[in-house]
Symmetry: C2
Subunit: 199 residues, 2 copies
DNA sequence: TAGCGAATCGTACGTACGATCAACGCTACG
DNA sequence: CGTAGCGTTGATCGTACGTACGATTCGCTA
């Protein structure tokens, strides 16, 4: 492995283990068994290396999400939505590291335009993909009302579940409970009492 | 204003403007017109000050969310859900600062247990409140299936919309578009084509 | 008004940081 | 065999950091 690769891998590991602020150039070099000066040679600066690592981790998270989304299926929209949620709930606990790193990237994007642009592109892609899965159609244009409405709604669900899972990894509901909550939202109007209560 | 108050206010401002990592003890003292040594005297350390500021900003965001949620109303669940979404979409652009700060707090919570516990408590409260609003009932126990199912679902929606708004402040759909997306999800089964398309 | 504790102040210390640079292999190619 | 170029090395630069400390001032009480 070249020092460049090792440094990038170390940056990803440190981003997960120590966070953006807790990572130092010397810590990266040590983790990568690389020379301190190599950071400047290969990446220009420590910040640029960290931002690149954040972008790549966000991209990995996007791929994991896309894979989960494409595994979902069903004959009706409601079934596909439920299947999507089940796939998500199965996937989220397995990729907590890249999720927390992606959230760090999201917050850092406020202070780095390149990072922001990359993440924005990833979001747009995710919105279109998620809308496509639920509608059972090919992905719409990212600027279409479908992507901006339904896509934003679905992606909000995904990111919101991830955000809660990062704080409380064990607190996500199981697939059945989430499905019954979806039913509760979709049912018409029983003026009180929730449908999905169990045990 | 005492130096303690000034420092805490400065920490909130710096958290928003420069981020967790970009804030220095000297920058805080300068922003607060306070003495550098006062940080240690009043808060123990710069990190403890920053964590306290993050907790308070998260709490402010929780209050803003609660206020918006309680402003929602309607005769049926579907109406209350739609009203809630409309209130959220109106509130989100007005409190972007505390939202981005809260997201920073969320990511930092992985590295500070006290911060994590505070945020977890805030999430639990929000889940119960949101479920209560949509069901038109008093808030359920935070551990109830209602809060863990419907509450998690609704809070995921909220956090997901916020996450997208932080990256692209102008990209949130308007209330009508989001409502039609909700309709799309709730309708039964037209095997293709989306209901809510417009212009 | 003397005394006391809390708050504020200025400063200095030691450390760790990110960046830089000349020197040095190593490899590939002429 | 030479040499040109890329990657690597270790050392060093200047700086900015967070914290600690003693001196000083403020506000209150007796």
């Amino acid at each position: 492995m070249t020092q460049r690769e090792a440094l990038l891998a170390a940056a990803k590991k440190c981003l997960v283990d120590k966070g953006y602020g807790g990572t130092t150039a010397r810590g990266l070099a040590a983790e990568a068994n690389a020379n301190l000066g190599s950071i400047g040679y290969h990446f220009g600066s420590k910040d640029r290396l960290m931002n690149l690592a954040a972008i790549e981790l966000s991209s990995e998270w996007g791929n994991a999400l896309e894979q989960a989304a494409r595994a979902a299926g069903g004959a009706t929209r409601a079934e596909r939505l439920r299947s999507l949620m089940a796939e998500l709930l199965a996937m989220i606990p397995q990729s907590q590291d890249i999720q927390s790193a992606s959230l760090q990237a999201l917050t850092q994007s406020k202070f780095d335009e390149k990072l922001r642009a990359e993440i924005e592109a990833g979001h747009a892609h995710a919105r279109a993909e998620l809308a496509a899965v639920v509608l059972g159609q090919p992905p719409p244009d990212p600027d279409s009302p479908t992507a901006r409405g339904l896509g934003t709604l679905l992606y909000a669900l995904v990111m919101g579940l991830v955000a809660q899972a990062v704080v409380e990894p064990g607190a996500l509901p199981d697939s059945d409970l989430l499905a019954s909550a979806l039913d509760t939202l979709m049912e018409n109007d029983p003026p009180s009492a929730q449908a999905g209560d169990r045990s």
